[in-house]
């Protein structure tokens, strides 16, 4: 091995190590407190929303009057999340001012 290939090899091994760590599986636990954990989909098979965008109520013609929503007021800000849309994503990682919240359904 020449003095040039050694650093390249170290670099590639480093990349491989990071890639492996990033792709690590979730805990493969089969039961918790006697009840089974069932795996239906891979992680992120249902994609959580990480960069939610919002509309003002007056600009929300896409919402039905009877559409079920999860509503929250926090730090003086009121937000609603359509439950029909939450069915598609299950989790919204959001921020209310300085507070980082997770809306879960």
């Amino acid at each position: 091995m020449t003095s040039k290939t050694a650093p390249i090899l170290m670099f590639l091994l480093g990349i491989a190590a990071v890639a492996h760590a990033a792709g690590t599986n979730l805990p493969e636990i089969e039961q918790i407190e006697g009840d089974p954990v069932v795996t239906l989909l891979p992680p992120d098979g249902i994609p959580a929303i990480d960069r939610p965008k919002f509309a003002a109520a007056s600009k929300a013609k896409f919402m039905h009057r009877n559409e079920p929503v999860l509503g929250v007021v926090h730090n003086g800000v009121a937000k609603a999340y359509s439950i029909w849309h939450l069915d598609r994503h299950e989790i919204v990682n959001d921020d209310f001012g300085p507070d980082p919240l997770a809306v879960t359904w």
Binding site: P36, V37, V69, V72, K79, A80, E90, I91, L101
Partner: protein
């Protein structure tokens, strides 16, 4: 809703694990890939096991009712295709799920506790590691429900026709209060305590006017959930069948 935790100095985000436990969503945090139960709000596997998330109260209600109460609200946007799908919608994506009154969850688990029908919606409340379920059918009849469930004076408020509810300890300065409905108009509830006639906000638990003005009731954590799921998590739960 939960406050996203700080792990190793950074606030983390949650992803969907694709796993179910007790027919309920299991999340994972992107920092450590620990598994978290969405219903319990705590980590159940991985490095963060045992850690509990801080709860932020949220309501299940309709867009129309929420907008009426909070005209300045924002609403989550949807991509164009999904917005169009929802515009055309009649039922929910779980309409076949609702068709079978006995199958709970995606895998059709049988109702584990016959005290209530599995698909009945309840408001499940938690206080000091004790649990109680209040059927929304009861709250429909009693939008202001005074109870001593969980061994504590508690009041549950719920506007008629909504699966929205909030619960509080109905005690101020050691004094137990009994609440009554003053007025119910659409999604607005005006409530007052019987002893002093002070009016209170059901949404914030704060006294708006009267002897207790400025004081607040302590919230009791609760969530809107199907009985069949709640009973899987809390086999020892109380069931509230009437108020005072």
């Amino acid at each position: 809703m939960y406050v996203r935790p700080t792990i190793d100095g950074e606030v983390t985000t949650f992803g969907v694990s694709g796993k179910l436990w007790r027919d309920s969503l299991v999340m994972y945090d992107r920092a450590t890939r620990s598994l978290w139960s969405q219903l319990l709000g705590s980590a159940v596997a991985g490095p963060q096991t045992g850690r509990t998330l801080e709860v932020v109260p949220a309501e299940v209600t309709t867009w129309g009712a929420w907008k009426q109460r909070h005209p300045d609200t924002l609403v989550l946007r949807k991509p164009a295709r999904e917005a169009l799908e929802d515009k055309r919608r009649r039922g929910t994506s779980y309409s076949s799920y609702h068709a079978d009154p006995n199958a709970i969850g995606v895998r059709g688990t049988r109702n584990p506790d016959e005290r209530l029908p599995g698909k009945m919606l309840v408001y499940g409340i938690t206080l000091n590691e004790s649990f109680a379920a209040v059927p929304f059918a009861l709250l429909e009849k009693s939008p202001v429900l005074n109870t001593d469930a969980l061994g504590t004076p508690i009041v549950v408020f719920s506007p008629r026709g909504e699966a929205a509810a909030l619960a509080y300890e109905r005690v101020v300065d050691g004094q137990e209060l009994t609440f009554e409905l003053l007025e119910s108009e659409g999604s607005r509830l005006t409530v007052r305590d019987v002893a002093t006639g002070s009016t209170w906000s059901w949404e914030s638990g704060e006294c708006l006017q009267g002897a207790f003005e400025g004081r607040s009731l302590r919230r009791v954590t609760g969530s809107t959930v199907y009985w069949g799921i709640w009973a899987q998590f809390h086999p020892d739960t109380e069931v509230v069948l009437s108020g005072q």
